[in-house]
Amino acid sequence: MTNKNNLLAGELERLGISRRTFLKFCTSIGSVMALSPAQAAVMAEKLVTVKRQSVIWLSFQECTGCTESITRSHKPSLESLIFDFVSLDYHHTLQAASGHAAEQAREQAMHDNQGKYILIVDGSIPIKDDGVYSTIAGMTNLDMLQQVAKDAAAIVAVGSCATFGGLPKASPNPTGAVSVSDIVHDKPIINIPGCPPIPVVMTGVLAHVLTFGIPELDSMGRPKAFYGDSIHDRCYRRPYYDRGQFAKSFDDEGARKGWCLYELGCKGPITHNACATVKWNNGTSFPIQSGHGCLGCSEPDFWDAGGFYKALSTGTNSPGQWATAALAAGAAAGLASAYLNKSSKADAEKDHQPVTLEDMGGKS
């Protein structure tokens, strides 16, 4: 009954991909997932014996950045291999079919794989005024999520909008945007926050689900492998922080020397993500390496957390969670907190001002 061609092994052969190449793929995935190399080899052996997994991808109140991210990985991509291994049965941005044919494909996949398909969601769900603010094929996002989630094996919420509400939820949240986990309570949900998430994090989680099942999650439903450390923990500028060497403005001597950006508002210490190790744009760089602090885009309510250029320890209007973390970070900072505690109100106000071209060009 099980046709070899339905298995990944057959798919590998069809694509002319050797097991050696595949092991390399699994090694790179395993590396970012902090799997032991032995587990990467097990993953390689297991992955080839699984059937092509049906995946339904629903895009709600979002900017398509998450889809952009995942489709802009390396080319030809080892990570993109994972998409040859799943059967992406519905994704209204990527699929060729439209209108009734598209919705029919979704219903067909739901019917054929009842209880077995993986549902991926990007975008938040507006629930104010009965969810009228975002609809697909005349159906509100709320209705569609509930309908498709009902028979899913697991749900992967991709991006900060689906995981935490994201930008649509930013104050004053005009559409009543909420996250997937605010609505669905009876299915396993894996949260992959980020604006957008790192491509390999998405593919890595899929590979893990296909082989070892749901990965270990933290209290916010995030895979510990990617979100277990803060950006700060893995930042190559960390030694400067430990020595108390901080850039005080963009383009001062400290900035040019690549010192820690903590005082320029870097949210690295309270942001859990893998940017510092996996990096962006095919491993080229990540915000801190480019000389800009981390915005904390993978944390809940990052948009409303009180200013991207405000040092954590000066925060006054941060949500409680951030303020607490900032205090802890400030305490550890030693020199940094001493400096920042003394900084005047005028400095704090200055930090609210948008950065101008003159600022970037180097003020005294």
Binding site: K24, P37, A41, H74, K75, L78, R238, P239, R256
Partner: protein
Amino acid sequence: MKTPLNLPIEIAAPSTGMAQAVLHELAGHLQQLIESGKTEVIDLTSLPMSSSDKQQLETQLGKGEVDITLTTIGESRIFETAYSGIWWIRHYTADQHLIAELIEICSVPQIIKSHPADMQQALSRLKNTH
């Protein structure tokens, strides 16, 4: 391609002492390999090492007698360091981006060995040609 902006920014990579720490760890693993045959891998990508840390480590380990290039999707460059049993492995994508960097402590890195499934396929290809 556009000429990149020539900004007067030099990001100095500090040496953090990580190279020494890894060397110490390697010694332990190599001893274990000799005594019990247990192989080990250190994933350099996930260690908070600066570029100068990595350079320092590579310089100290040096190059040994074996140098291997895999031409999978993208190359992989594998060499034995001057310390027998300690292999440095770099996996690249087709467009030359480094996606994994490991040090494997073993007699032959696992990825070099031929996989039974590949050999099976090779056999059927061979048979078809005759």
